[in-house]
Amino acid sequence: MNRKLTEHTAINFVEKDEVLELKDLLAEKGDPQPSSPPDSYWGNLIVRTNQRIDEATSGKALSINWAARVAIPGVIAILSFLFGLQYYVPDGPSTATTLNTVVQSLPEETIDSLLAQVPQIMENYTFHLYANDPFVVSDDQIVDYFVAMGKASTLLDVMTDQQVEQLLTQLALEKKL
């Protein structure tokens, strides 16, 4: 018990010394502090946040969610149908079974307008694509799709932590290959 306490205290002393040493070093170098926002920023931040809370809890937000609930299954059904159709075309080229090909065969405006109307579609869409189901397309196909559509940055906005990590792993693998 005493030994543990001594070790603990020793670590804290070393840490304190090293932190002070670093602070001194930075002061000596005249390292600048990041600039603080003006005082008016804080009051304004509360106003803006309250407005966003109002929006998030208003009927407007609820109606969008309701529209999304109706639209998402529709879009998924259309894409699944197209994907399935392509997959089961007799004597069709096997490479044409990727989602990339299917989506590219659709008019770009159609996809864009659907995505613009219901942003949540993309989130659900990526979730479905990453689901552990043998019939869904793979990660590299979804990357292909978003590259083809020029939506890479949008994709990142809607991806979860787990999906971003999967994407990074996938890209790292591709880079090695």
């Binding site: 840490e15 090293e18 390292d31 990041p34 509360i46 809370i53 998030a56 991806m159 971003v164």
Partner: protein
């Protein structure tokens, strides 16, 4: 008059008093802002994250059980959102390296990018930027906010021993970077 305790305000918010939530935001907005700013590096990103943090906290107040303090809870949300934003940035930078994708993304000559890189100009900020995600978070909480390991442990839900190791490694790396680059 004694200021109301956080938990008292939380209870009032749950009973529909929005003014009580404004008071909670006023109390913690600066700490939430600065931890986010130090993790993500830019004012614009930190500004987004502070708003997101308070919105998520408001909407999730029903899940707040009071096991940890309200501040720890909200601080955890801010750290998680900041790390998430950082990962997205990392992914975006990774994608930028790809020739195929580069043409769909803003170039490095983008004025916003230039401004951000200037904001990352401090030696310490650049050193922190080089740290792995977890070391970065622990370093910021310990070095700037001077939080105890027990508090950090509540935020990151990690053991105190692991946090000490993380901070020690981070500190060494920052020291080496500062000595090397200055």
């Amino acid at each position: 008059m004694e200021p109301k305790a956080d938990l008292e305000l939380v209870e009032e918010v749950r009973n529909g008093n929005r003014q009580a939530y404004t008071e909670l935001m006023r109390r913690y907005q600066q700490r939430v802002y600065w931890v986010s700013r130090r993790i993500v590096g830019t004012h614009e990103d930190a500004d987004d994250i502070v708003q997101e943090t308070f919105i998520k906290a408001f909407l999730g107040l029903g899940d707040f059980r009071g096991d940890a303090s309200f501040f720890t809870w909200i601080y955890r949300i801010a750290v998680n959102l900041s790390l998430n934003a950082l990962r997205k940035k990392q992914a975006l930078n990774y994608l930028r390296q790809s020739d195929v994708i580069a043409r769909f993304l803003p170039s490095r000559d983008d004025p916003a990018e230039e401004l951000n890189s200037k904001e990352m100009g401090s030696l310490l900020q650049r050193a922190i930027k080089e740290l792995p995600e977890k070391q970065k978070a622990v370093f910021i909480m310990r070095y700037y906010d001077e939080m105890s390991y027990e508090e950090i442990s509540q935020v990151l839900k990690t053991s105190v021993g692991g946090l000490k190791a993380n901070f020690f490694h981070a500190l060494r790396k920052v020291q080496e970077y500062v000595k090397r680059e200055s």
